[in-house]
């Protein structure tokens, strides 16, 4: 791992509980590069949470060393160490008798920041996680929804701007729809804050979606494979990893690509003020089945197809179907595919930040990107195999 600076290095880390023959974690050595999300994933009881909690020494290791930015922190004062490491747990653990503002201000308070700086930081963080500071600062945790609590949990972990964040199944106890939204929000946030994040989950799909790198762990926190998600999907190290990934590696691979990474399909469009004849003409020139009507800001307003044009002489804007399945460039292809399948026009509309039409994702787009991923993975394995051979012969 020469390409990136190492933020956390675990050396032969071990945890043995008294009275147990098998260690919970044995001889784990792992390097976590700066600014990346590293996912520890594995079956229940594999020691992934124990491993995570040894990094901030909520669980004290019985052997090995922990290096943070090159410093050996294995014996450092744990309270001071933890103030440098953000910590998010599944149960969130917001303090119910403190307001949202007080919850977030806690660590800066421990670090003796002055009051105005703390207040500024609280507002800044609430903004960052998309919650209006004026509205939420004075509220108590019980007045928030699960998703909002999770956001506050993240804001609290970021309060003292720690370089490292540890997250233990942070989205585990949240309904699937909110979880998906929070995951996307978090990835967007990470693009801004560029923290080094160690993230534990048992859900391989979440691992693939969230991780820059994934460590698949088996019993006693032994690493089965530690690599980028696309390599794990295309090139599982052994049958354990293969079983753990499960079926549908191609579909899972769609989680790795975002709409902005692929060439969008071209569907015909017309201004909503166009005449019937102009729309029919646009349809005829295209091999797609429907035309998308756009308003002056190029926002999608209506799908019309040939049948709905023939059937009535109502104004254009009252025929056809309302636009469905609208996605943004940051959406994963997997989510876009999902939206597409739900929509009646077999196509997901892509809009940019201002809501203007930018293109479409249809089944051809998806097929092409799956093909491209296969080719890339094959080329890479060949290149690696070639490198190995030259390495052997020298």
């Amino acid at each position: 791992m020469t390409d990136a600076e190492v933020m956390i290095r675990l050396e032969g880390l071990e945890k043995k509980y008294p009275g147990q023959k098998q260690p919970a974690v044995s001889e784990l050595t792992l390097e976590i590069p700066k600014g990346e999300i590293v996912i520890l994933v594995g079956p229940s009881g594999c020691g992934k949470t124990t491993t995570l909690k040894m990094i901030n020494r909520v669980i004290e290791p019985t052997g090995g060393r922990i290096l943070l930015e090159g410093d050996d922190v294995t014996d450092a004062d744990p309270d001071k160490l933890r103030r440098r490491i953000g910590y998010v747990i599944q149960q969130i653990g917001l303090f119910p008798h403190m307001t949202i503002g007080q919850n977030i201000a806690l660590v800066p308070g421990l670090l003796k920041w002055d009051k105005s700086r703390v207040n500024r930081r609280v507002d800044e963080l609430l903004d960052l996680v998309g919650m209006d500071p004026a509205k939420y600062r004075q509220r108590y945790p019980k007045e928030l929804s699960g998703g909002q609590r999770q956001r506050v949990g993240v804001a609290r972990a970021l309060s003292a701007d720690p370089p490292v964040m540890l997250m233990d199944e942070p989205f585990g106890a949240i309904d699937p729809i909110t979880r998906d939204r929070l995951q996307n929000e978090f990835l967007r946030l990470q693009e801004e804050i560029k923290k080094t994040i160690v993230f534990v989950t048992h859900d391989i799909d979440e691992a693939i979606k969230m991780g820059d790198r994934i460590a698949i762990l088996r019993d006693e926190s032994r690493i089965a494979q530690y690599d980028k998600p696309e390599h794990i999907l295309s090139d599982p190290a052994d049958s354990f990893v293969e079983d753990f990934i499960g079926h549908g590696a191609s579909l899972k691979g769609l989680n790795l690509k975002r709409v902005r990474d692929v060439e969008l399909a071209n569907w015909p469009t017309s201004p909503q003020t166009a005449t019937r004849g102009e729309v029919l003409e646009a349809l005829r020139r295209s091999d797609q089945g429907a035309v998308l009507l756009l308003d002056e800001q190029r926002r999608p307003r209506r799908w019309v197809d040939a049948r709905s044009l023939d059937r009535t002489d109502k104004p254009l804007m009252e025929t056809g179907l309302p636009p469905e399945a609208i996605v943004s460039p940051g959406t994963t292809l997997s989510d876009a595919l999902n939206e597409m399948l739900k929509s009646r026009v077999a196509c997901a509309i892509v809009v940019d930040d201002s809501g203007a039409y930018a293109g479409a994702v249809d089944i051809d787009t998806i097929m092409e990107s799956i093909q491209a991923m296969r080719v890339a993975a094959r080329d890479e394995s060949r290149a690696l195999a070639g490198a190995d051979m030259t390495g052997d012969s020298s």
Binding site: Y87, I89, I92, L110, P141, R156
Partner: protein
């Protein structure tokens, strides 16, 4: 006591709906009890004034006698309850630390024994052991009422969500910080319930202090009983009951005020 126990507010309800719905109920609760007690005392006053009191009755029911007895009773209750708080809460904190787990049953057993013996027995035992008078009554009251506060402190600390404590430790709070800023505030409602129970026990038991020369409102009841004057006994009983209910009312308000917001 159950009549004065506040309904726990629904955890799910949003604050916007809780506050307006709560206030009229709260105010009514705060006003009703003292109103009823004043009415009872007034009725007693009217009844006693309408009676022809003989010499002994008149001597036993003078205003200074009643006031002195009430003040003594208040002193007995307040001092014993304060001492109970000062002893039982720190003890409860100590006994819930991981390092003291082994001796916990011993202390709980002692406190249990203190409460299992009938209150008059504790009073008399302590009187035989130490002597009679105000000071020794206090010791006996403390011994008798320590259990509810000790047990509630321990239960209150142990019922705090362990994930909240893990979050606190994981964020870099010291053990003492976690205790002072998370554990104790979150245990306050349960601890206060214990203190309220101790207070009620002490108000009641202090009535028996008269048997070991400790003073208090028991003097009036006892005076009526020994001189065979039912009017005096009745007056003492009504005043004692009103006094106890009034203290419970104060304790109820204290619970409401001291409970941390957001719980």
């Amino acid at each position: 006591m159950s009549m004065a126990t506040p309904e726990p507010p629904s955890l799910q309800a949003a604050s916007a709906t809780v506050v307006p719905a709560r206030w009229p109920g709260r105010v009514a609760r705060y006003v009703t009890i003292p109103g009823l007690l004043a009415l009872a005392c007034l009725a007693l006053y009217v009844y006693v004034s309408g009676q022809e009191l003989d010499d002994i009755e008149a001597r036993l029911l003078t205003q200074p006698r009643i006031v002195t007895a009430a003040i003594e009773h208040l002193q007995l209750t307040a001092m014993s309850t304060s001492l109970v708080i000062l002893i039982a809460i720190p003890l409860g904190i100590m006994l819930t630390r991981p390092s003291t787990r082994r001796v916990t049953p011993l202390f709980l057993g002692l406190a249990n024994a203190g409460q299992t013996v009938p209150s008059i027995g504790v009073l008399v035992l302590f009187a035989l052991w130490f002597g009679i008078g105000f000071k020794y009554v206090i010791i006996a009251l403390v011994a008798y009422a320590i259990l509810p506060v000790l047990r509630n402190t321990m239960v209150g600390l142990e019922q705090v969500d362990p994930f909240i404590l893990e979050a606190g430790r994981g964020m870099g709070m010291t053990k003492l910080g976690v205790l002072a800023r998370l554990e104790l505030p979150l245990a306050v409602p349960v601890i206060l319930a214990g203190v309220r129970t101790a207070l009620i026990i002490n108000v009641g038991t202090a009535t028996l202090a008269t048997f070991v020369d400790g003073g208090g409102l028991g003097d009036i009841i006892q005076g009526g009983l020994t001189s065979n004057r039912p009017v005096v006994t009745l007056s003492g009983a009504v005043i004692t009951a009103a006094f106890a209910l009034l203290l419970d009312w104060v304790a109820g308000i204290a619970e409401d005020v001291l409970r941390p917001k957001g719980l």
